[in-house]
């Protein structure tokens, strides 16, 4: 039992009948991943990349078309019952459905504790502690239908932890949480991983949190894993990418400015331009950051653009992600 | 598609005209028909359920006497015709009221409610559109059940004037039950539970409107309660037309028609008001998309 999760050529093809014509959609395509016991593993990918389908297969909700997987050493096809006692599952995309809206938080948790065979005294202690941790104690007698999305998400998170499983499948766990709760949830997951040695398989859109938490990251696109490495290694892939970041305060015509910058001979291309609070951040790929900074600054100055900074930009996971998923050369 | 292109297409200036009401309603009917057509199986079930219903009351009529019905002034056809008209029209309006509620619930369930209400469509037109299609379907079922009844031995007075009068009464029946449907939908939006309310209403109206027996058999207090239900007047009128050959020249019919018109005049503003309250309440506590 060397790996907590091990898939071998795991594949899922969905059949879809549209106007009588059968269509086949390869949601997961021969995926081979291995997650060690106690590892914090991240699964990254755009919408529709197959992350959720992959996790649902590991959770025994969806049967694979081809290949199989082992969770905690048990086969997901042959021993679903044993697999089910090994993991806790959270599915953020449901936006707080998947709970009984006409029961209160406590009853929801109690129900699943019974279903997960948690002894009564332990269940009570844990439910109390989890409700307190997620700051739901004072609302715990209110029906879930009157909860905000964030509160529902917290109840679902508590449900996934309730039976203290060795493996946690966390599908977008911070979706719908406010910033402070998201920070706390990340801290909890980190502690569960480092203190209790739980294996965590984590998916997210948020590059920052994946980078911060995960020891290893797999990137999925169109059902395939296109990269599988620690964040540092992935970042290494962009070693030869040099970038400069411009923070613009005020500008009349952004597209014109961007065009002018891209025409500079030192700028290889414009990586992206996006609004961040009151500023516009433009990232430029260049040959040499230190040479580029003064040139870019003087160009902006001559265009009459008010800017607050021109600085060197570290390649982020987002760059890798964009680079890989757009199918560009690595 | 590049962002610039897309922005170009969207921002292209198109003069916004008000879509004519009939077009809006037609689009609802077409949409419902398309959805309904994917459940062809349902039609079969609806029809077989209807046939079974008619046959049930045919056999029931075999153990009844027609004495009370004839004493109440419904001349031909006996108990079976009497019960057939009662059940067919009662089911007709029950089906209609229920489908108003159900379509709203379905919209809430699918989460399309919020989308539709956030478009520029007036909610009254929205309601009208929602019910139009189900009235078409239930009218077809009504005619079919009368036909099945006729095959089994129900008899009607068929003269142009009696049929015309029956149709007028039917239209008034529909109009009055639209109000009831709208009213109950307003309540449902708030309490989130559809069918039990409609079912309870359906049973109550069966009890006091004389669906299965002449009103004379009821004790006086239930007979009085029955006077509050538009179904009572419609059934009496329609039966007098189809079983006794009465028409617009008969004072009894005129009384029924006037009662129905009064009901509609009084109930329409109340129904719309209650609906508005329920709708606003649901918007206030943000539960429009809930069910």
């Amino acid at each position: 039992m060397e790996y907590a999760v091990e898939t071998s050529d795991l594949t899922k093809v969905f059949e879809n009948k549209e106007e009588g014509v059968k269509q086949y959609i390869k949601a997961v395509d021969h995926v081979n991943i291995k997650v060690k016991h106690g590892e914090f593993f991240g699964l990254l990918g755009p919408n529709g990349a197959g992350k959720t389908t992959l996790i649902k297969m590991l959770c025994t909700i969806i049967l694979p078309t081809e290949g199989t997987a082992k969770v905690n050493g048990y086969d997901i096809i042959k021993e679903p019952h044993k697999v089910r006692s090994s993991f806790g599952w959270f599915h953020g995309e449901t936006g707080g459905r998947s709970l009984y809206w006409r029961l209160n938080a406590e009853d929801n948790l109690k129900f699943y504790a019974y279903l997960q065979n948690v002894p009564k005294d332990i269940a009570e202690k844990r439910i109390k502690a989890l409700l307190e941790f997620f700051e739901l104690t004072k609302d715990s007698k209110k029906l879930v239908k009157d909860y905000s999305t964030g509160m529902k998400v917290k109840v679902m998170l508590a449900r996934a932890l309730l039976h203290n499983p060795p493996i946690l499948f966390m599908d977008e766990p911070t979706i719908g949480l406010d910033t402070i709760s998201a920070v706390e949830t990340r801290r909890l997951l980190k502690a569960l991983n480092s203190e209790l040695g739980k294996t965590i398989v984590f998916t997210s859109h948020n590059m920052f949190e994946v980078e911060q938490l995960c020891e290893r990251i797999a990137i999925m696109k169109d059902g395939r894993v296109i990269a599988d490495a620690p964040p540092s290694v992935l970042r290494e892939m962009l070693r030869d990418v040099h970038a400069v970041e411009v923070e613009i305060r005020e500008v009349d015509d952004l597209s014109k400015t961007v065009e002018a910058l891209s025409n500079l001979s030192i700028v290889k291309k414009v990586m992206d331009a996006k609004n961040e609070s009151s500023n516009v951040i433009v990232r430029l790929q260049v040959d040499d950051e230190y040479e580029a900074i003064p040139i870019v600054a003087s160009k902006l100055h001559s265009l009459g653009v008010k800017f607050s900074a021109v600085r060197r930009s570290e390649p982020t996971l987002e760059d890798i992600f964009v680079k890989l998923t757009r199918g560009e050369e690595t | 598609m590049e962002v610039e292109k897309l922005v170009g297409i969207i921002s292209e200036e198109v003069p916004r005209r008000k879509t004519p009401i009939y077009r809006v309603i037609l689009s609802f009917v077409v949409r419902d028909f398309k959805v309904w057509w994917t459940y062809k199986f349902w039609l079969l079930l609806d029809i077989s359920g209807m046939v079974l219903f008619v046959v049930t009351y045919y056999i029931f009529s075999l153990i009844t006497t027609s004495q009370q019905v004839q004493e109440a002034g419904y001349v031909i056809g006996g108990y079976f015709t009497f019960a057939l008209i009662g059940i067919a029209f009662q089911q007709y309006v029950h089906f209609a009221v229920q489908s108003i509620n159900e379509s709203i619930r379905e919209e809430q369930w699918n989460g399309t409610m919020e989308t539709i209400l956030s478009t520029a469509t007036d909610f009254r037109i929205f309601l009208l559109g929602e019910v139009c299609f189900s009235f078409i379907v239930s009218s077809a079922l009504l005619l079919m059940s009368l036909l099945v009844g006729f095959i089994l031995g129900a008899r009607f007075y068929v003269t142009p004037s009696s049929i015309l009068t029956a149709i007028i009464l039917t239209v008034l029946l529909i109009a009055s039950h639209m109000d009831i449907g709208i009213l109950s939908t307003g309540v449902i939006m708030k309490v989130k539970q559809g069918s039990p309310v409609t079912w309870a209403f359906s049973w109550l109206s069966q009890l006091v409107s004389g669906v299965f027996y002449p009103l004379k058999l009821l004790p006086w207090y239930l007979e009085w309660v029955g006077k509050a239900f538009p179904l009572t007047y419609s059934l009496d009128g329609i039966r007098l037309c189809l079983q006794s050959g009465k028409d617009l020249t008969s004072p009894v019919i005129i009384t029924n028609i006037v009662s129905l018109v009064i009901f509609i005049i009084v109930a329409t503003p109340i129904a719309l008001y209650v609906f508005k309250i329920g709708y606003d309440a649901a918007r206030r506590d943000g539960s429009l998309g809930q069910y």
């Binding site: 969905f14 059949e15 649902k56 025994t60 909700i61 969806i62 049967l63 019952h81 006692s85 993991f87 599915h91 449901t94 459905r97 998947s98 009984y100 029961l103 129900f111 699943y112 019974y114 279903l115 997960q116 065979n117 002894p119 332990i122 202690k125 502690a129 307190e132 941790f133 029906l143 039976h163 203290n164 909890l188 569960l192 203190e195 209790l196 | 459940y39 077989s48 359920g49 079974l52 046959v55 056999i59 029931f60 075999l62 153990i63 009844t64 006497t65 004495q67 009370q68 369930w109 309490v191 539970q193 309310v197 079912w199 309870a200 049973w203 109550l204 069966q206 027996y213 058999l217 009821l218």
Partner: protein
């Protein structure tokens, strides 16, 4: 509560012990609580029940009593005759529709997925749901009988023996349909829609089972007559009428024959139903459509 404290709490763990009884209890308890939260539903359904009984009592005024004798239960009045029919038909309808209804709910609200990933077996789930169905429907049946005897003074024969026999017959009736209910549930999992089917089921039962009229009158329609005697409900209703109208017990030969038929149906249909249900679960796991939000 800090992260550290929570972690400490999770450090002490006890082995989890599997218990089907607790699973069944949990499903029953949670769903019963959900049911109680639908207060309007309970009130409205109670009104419907009372109104329908009142209506039948007025319908009865037009019935020619001599034609009811043909049913073979002696000189009983039509109202008692119909009341037993309505009570049992309603009960059956509620039990079967409850199961399919709550299952559709679980699919739509996405609560079926966490249930599948938990340790409960589908058998325990169905049993838990069904127990709730028995009890909830029992409330309404009790209502029908209490109003019938108390207000309308129908001469039903009520003593310890008939009550026990009646309850046994009702249980057998539900069990003989349980297989069909479970089968329908399995089909609902796959096709997501089931209401029209249950509706047709209700009208067929009400019509063919002879709720409102003696089955003798169906003899002119040979196909329908044969179909009627193929339904377990017809046997259950016959037994229930013999018990409550004529004072027979479970051991009376006529009742015993009916009971045997019901047992045969139970034995055949429950395993079949469970098979279809299992097929349904695996089918949706294969299609990946457990939840359809």
């Amino acid at each position: 509560m800090k992260v550290e404290e929570l972690i400490k709490l999770f450090k002490d763990d006890k082995p989890r012990l599997s218990s089907e009884v607790i699973h069944v209890w949990a499903v029953f308890w949670a769903n019963f609580k959900i049911f109680l939260s639908y207060r309007t539903w309970v009130i409205m359904e109670t009104i419907s029940t009372v109104a329908s009984i009142a209506m039948y009592s007025f319908m009865g005024l037009q019935v020619d009593a001599t034609r009811v004798v043909l049913a073979g239960y002696g000189e009983v009045d039509w109202l008692s005759f119909a009341l037993v029919g309505v009570a049992t038909a309603n009960y059956l309808w509620m039990c079967v529709s409850r199961l399919s209804h709550s299952l559709q709910h679980e699919i739509r609200e996405g609560t079926l997925e966490p249930i599948i990933t938990s340790l409960i077996s589908m058998r325990s789930y169905i049993i838990g749901q069904s127990i709730r169905g028995f009890l909830v429907s029992g409330y309404f049946m009790l209502g029908v009988i209490v109003v019938g005897i108390g207000v309308l003074r129908t001469p039903l024969i009520i003593n310890l023996e008939t009550i026990l026999s009646f309850i046994a017959v009702i249980l057998l009736m539900v069990l003989s349909y349980a297989g069909i209910g479970i089968m329908a549930a399995g089909l609902i999992l796959v096709y997501k829609k089931g209401d029209p089917l249950t509706f047709l089921f209700a009208s067929v039962t009400e019509f063919l089972g002879g709720v409102l009229f003696p089955l003798k009158y169906l003899e002119n329609f040979p196909i329908l007559y044969v179909m009627a005697w193929l339904m377990p409900y017809t046997y259950a209703l016959d037994a229930a009428r013999r018990i409550l109208l004529n004072g027979a017990t479970l051991l009376s030969p006529n009742v015993l024959l009916n009971v045997t038929v019901l047992i045969v149906y139970t034995v055949i249909f429950i395993p079949l139903g469970l098979k279809v249900f299992k097929w349904g679960i695996n089918r949706i796991r294969h299609e990946g459509t457990v939840a359809t939000y």
